[in-house]
């Protein structure tokens, strides 16, 4: 049995501990907002937060996150009827095209802003270059991040604005 907390909820899982977190989230916990893109930490579609920090769930064995706090895209917003400021910025800038990579993009961006509220252009590039967008919406993603940068935001790891 492996215990971990996902989006604030305790989970107890009877799964091969070597199974990547991605597949446990998608198949056991039915949290399908976290996406499979490459399986080798090359594209960022599977990005989640482990204790508030962006991590690629496709190469993270379940055993490695025993007892940790996991946040997925489904848990990024502060409450059911409220969006994370980045989610709102994504809508305002009309960022997504196909949308498949956007959960991972948002989780990487949220992790960046949680540790650096006013990132420079280079810092945004460095934090986001692990996330591929095949629809090529990099310009809009950057605009949306800058829209939120420096503004108060919800940090799911701390549970406060």
């Amino acid at each position: 049995m492996i215990r971990l907390t996902v989006n604030g909820k305790e989970q107890e899982l009877d799964v091969d501990p070597q199974t990547p977190l991605l597949w446990v989230l998608r198949e056991q916990l039915r949290l399908t907002g976290t996406k499979f893109g490459c399986g080798m930490a090359q594209c960022g579609a599977c990005t989640v937060h482990v204790n508030g920090t962006a991590q690629r769930s496709c190469v993270t064995p379940l055993a490695a996150v025993q007892g940790q706090q996991i946040t997925t895209i489904e848990g990024l917003a502060p409450s059911e009827d409220e969006l994370h400021p980045l989610q709102q910025a994504w809508i305002d800038e009309q960022v997504p095209q196909c949308g498949y990579c956007q959960s991972g993009q948002l989780m990487s961006a949220a992790s960046l802003l949680a540790s650096n509220a006013n990132p420079s252009d280079e810092e945004i590039n460095a934090a986001m270059q692990g996330n591929i967008c095949r629809c090529g919406m990099y310009g809009r993603i950057k605009k949306a991040i800058n829209r939120v940068a420096g503004v108060g935001y919800f940090d799911p790891a701390r549970g406060e604005v």
């Binding site: 594209c43 489904e74 809508i91 997504p96 270059q129 629809c135 090529g136």
Partner: protein
């Protein structure tokens, strides 16, 4: 809705709960002869568009196009809502079910011109263009056609008809002249008697009325939504993880599978040892799946090999199981092929020129050559490219009791349904297809191979199976953008004018006009030779325009350089009789500051390509430092006739540019020993944020016919990039991708295009 029974173009019906529905249909005897000719037999019908209005005053637009990211569903709903004067907050959309009634006749049968419809996008599964309405299997999203065909010929008409009928119904009830009633935000208003009522109040009455067969359409000045920005309806679900892609489907009792198809195309299983795989915990079964060597409309004879599938309790277990399978493939000698052999074959075939087909032959090329003051020759090549959609190919299928249910994201639901049925030996009616958002399409999801494979696995398992391809499988089993080699010779006469243009390339696909040039060159000889390979290929964003755009817009630049003339001025001179082309060219140059000097090591390039009815000129600015190329800025000027959704168009142009730039800089699928050498994003590199330039898009609404949006941004970027590098370094990039060059050194003529 009942069956369509009348010879009407527009038909109506009552929907449950007292609402009404309008369909724009093609019927035998239609008043427009070109439409009537599409449906010739009694009982035939095509519903191109549906709109439903329910008792809560909600307008539901039923959209016959799939959503792969291009925003088609929103923009089509927007076109309908504008004509209907519907309240945008009360507009919803649904994707049409794959039913022959939604077959996209306008796309398939030339309303917009045969030349613009890539055959790739009409993949009738038996490889023939079928007789209209007999076994039609098209419901296609591709060719940048959603707005141009369905929007212009269906959505606007349905919206206008609905509005007109609601006005008539209100006029009847209120006993006032229809002309005195105006509409606004899903309400009917009669100012003189101070009456205002929601559309829904008159829906039941409207449903009983005869629809107008030629409803009045708004003029451009009256548009409230067309040409204005609205927020995309699908975006909220794409920021909170709730959007449902095919891979997110959960069916009770579902198991998972993953596959490996023969790495050498067309291979068959010679020997299979699954004993170790069956011992992997969670593995349920190991299966063989037959390949397909049948005909395909775009690619001709298919070359799809056998596959091994491992079925397990989860994807991870299936993947581990697959790694434990030992399989020997029978490759029929196809494992001798490699990229260099393929390009050498292209070279031989171009030189031999056997059975050369002509795209355009005019003037007297030989005379031009005899009288030339200057002869310029160049040869270019581009590699195979994978689509690399973010969402790897996948489908969930259940085959039981003579029925197949399939959950998938695809660009052609009807065609897929037909292909799955054929593979199972079913009639199409025995297959139910649920289409989902696509995590990228770009043409890849128009080939049903992954749907067929999932169905064949499910048929053996007798349980719902979610088949997920690994990224490696997705890169190695694509239907690739074809590799092409193209040879040019141009002449400049004693007056300094371009006198002739000769071009021969390998393998003609679609669209037919892709290799043609817009420039005023008197003598032209453009044609192709066949040089088939066994590599599966298919449409890739903007189809043949990406290869030919690179070739022709590079060569015109070379002619300018040979004359020592500014490449922008040179193009402008040759486009003097093409006002729309000239306008986008001028706009791009002006906005980019073409006449502003650049620092040493920096360069600027320009290119122009019309595709899918939209004209695009792009200026690329680069900085080359120690051989490393950084793309700083791209300025695009776009003339789509009318930008129905200006921000949506800009998003598509940005997207098309990044897609094309990624390919130009990094994209290369190479063949080694008959198989694809690349496997994942570490060796099939994709452009990332740190390499993404600033993109500025300028839209020109010229009032011309409405063009496409999804594809036209792509073709001009590769040549504009290559031309910018020439401007910065003096090195002429004649083969892609750019990453294969070391620009620290000047490219020598002898190194070019082996």
């Amino acid at each position: 809705m009942g069956k369509w029974t009348r010879r009407a173009f527009i038909t109506t019906g009552v929907v449950a709960g007292g609402g009404f529905a309008i369909g724009v249909a093609l019927r035998p005897g239609h008043r427009a002869p070109e439409l009537a000719s599409l449906v010739t037999e009694e009982g035939e019908s095509l519903v191109n568009v549906w709109v439903k209005l329910d008792q809560n005053n909600v307008t539901t637009v039923i959209v016959p196009h799939s959503e792969m990211g291009q925003g088609a569903q929103t923009v089509l709903a927007q076109m309908l809502a504008d004509e209907m004067d519907a309240d945008w907050d009360l507009v919803r959309f649904e994707e049409a079910p794959p039913s022959p009634e939604y077959a996209n006749y306008l796309l398939g049968y030339g309303i917009i011109g045969d030349a613009e419809v890539p055959k790739a996008l009409v993949p009738t599964f038996d490889g023939l263009m079928l007789q209209v309405a007999k076994s039609m299997a098209m419901q296609i999203t591709g060719g940048s056609l959603s707005i141009r065909s369905t929007g212009q010929y269906g959505m606007r008409i349905a919206g206008a008809a609905a509005r007109q009928m609601l006005i008539e119904a209100a006029a009847d009830t209120w006993q006032v002249p229809a002309a005195e009633i105006r509409t606004e935000a899903s309400h009917l208003i009669h100012a003189a008697s101070n009456r205002r009522a929601p559309y829904a109040e008159f829906a039941p009455l409207a449903a009983q009325m005869s629809p107008p067969q030629t409803p009045d359409l708004k003029s451009v000045d009256d548009f409230k939504m067309i040409g204005h920005d609205v927020q995309r309806l699908d975006i909220p679900s794409k920021v909170d993880g709730s959007a449902q892609f095919a891979m997110d489907v959960q069916v009770p009792d579902m198991v998972y599978a993953t596959v490996q198809r023969s790495p050498v195309f067309g291979g068959e299983i010679a020997k299979l040892d699954d004993s170790a795989a069956r011992k992997v915990p969670g593995v349920i079964d190991v299966l063989k799946v037959a390949g397909n060597k049948g005909e395909d409309a775009f690619s001709g004879k298919q070359n799809i090999g056998d596959s091994v599938a491992v079925v397990a309790e989860g994807y991870w277990q299936a993947k581990q199981g697959l790694a434990a399978v030992a399989v020997e493939w029978k490759n029929f000698g196809q494992d001798a092929m490699g990229s260099e052999e393929i390009f050498a074959q292209f070279d031989r075939d171009i030189t031999a020129g056997v059975e050369r087909g002509n795209d355009r032959v005019q003037g007297d090329v030989k005379a031009a050559l005899d009288n030339a003051a200057q002869v310029v020759e160049a040869e270019y090549r581009v590699p195979y490219l994978a689509h690399a959609c973010m969402e790897p190919m996948n489908a969930t299928a259940l085959v039981r009791d003579g029925q197949c249910e399939i959950w998938i994201g695809c660009q052609n639901p009807l065609g897929f349904r037909a292909a799955v049925a054929a593979a199972l030996g079913f009639e199409p009616e025995q297959v139910t297809l649920h289409n989902h958002f696509m995590g990228g399409g770009f043409g890849r999801r128009s080939n049903p191979d992954y749907a067929v494979q999932a169905a064949l696995v499910a048929a053996q398992v007798q349980r719902p199976v979610q088949l997920i391809w690994s990224r490696e499988e997705d890169i190695r089993q694509d239907h690739y953008r074809p590799a092409v080699r193209s040879r040019f010779r141009g002449t400049i006469d004693a007056n300094g004018d371009v006198a002739s243009w000769e071009n021969t390339y390998v393998d003609k696909h679609e669209p037919a006009e892709a290799p043609l040039i817009p420039y005023a060159v008197g003598s032209q000889d453009i044609g192709y030779v066949a040089s088939p390979t066994n590599i599966p290929f298919g449409p890739w964003r903007s189809v043949d325009h990406t290869q030919h755009g690179f070739f022709t817009e590079s060569f015109i630049d070379e002619l300018a350089a040979a004359k020592d003339v500014d490449p922008y001025e040179f193009r402008a001179q040759l486009l003097r009789d093409k006002p729309r082309h000239l306008a986008v060219l001028n706009k791009a140059a002006e906005e980019a500051g073409w006449d502003q000097p650049l620092a040493s090591g920096r360069g600027r390039g320009i290119a122009l390509q019309e595709s899918f009815g939209t004209l695009v000129a792009e200026v690329v600015e680069v900085t080359v430092t120690d051989g490393d190329v950084k793309v700083d800025r791209i300025v695009a000027a776009v003339d789509p006739g009318l930008a129905v959704s200006p921000d949506g168009l800009k998003a598509q142009i940005e997207s098309g540019i990044i897609y094309g730039l990624s390919a130009a800089m990094f994209g290369e699928v190479s063949i080694e020993n008959g198989a694809v050498a690349q496997s994942n994003f570490h060796d099939y590199q994709i452009l990332r944020m740190n390499d993404a330039p600033v993109i500025e898009t300028h839209v020109i609404n010229s009032g011309g016919p409405v063009g496409g949006a999804g594809e036209p941004g792509t073709p001009a970027v590769a040549p504009a990039l290559a031309n910018a590098i020439y401007n910065a370094t003096g090195s002429r990039v004649r083969q892609l991708p750019l990453k294969n060059y070391d620009l620290k050194f000047r490219i020598k003529e002898s190194d070019e295009v082996a």
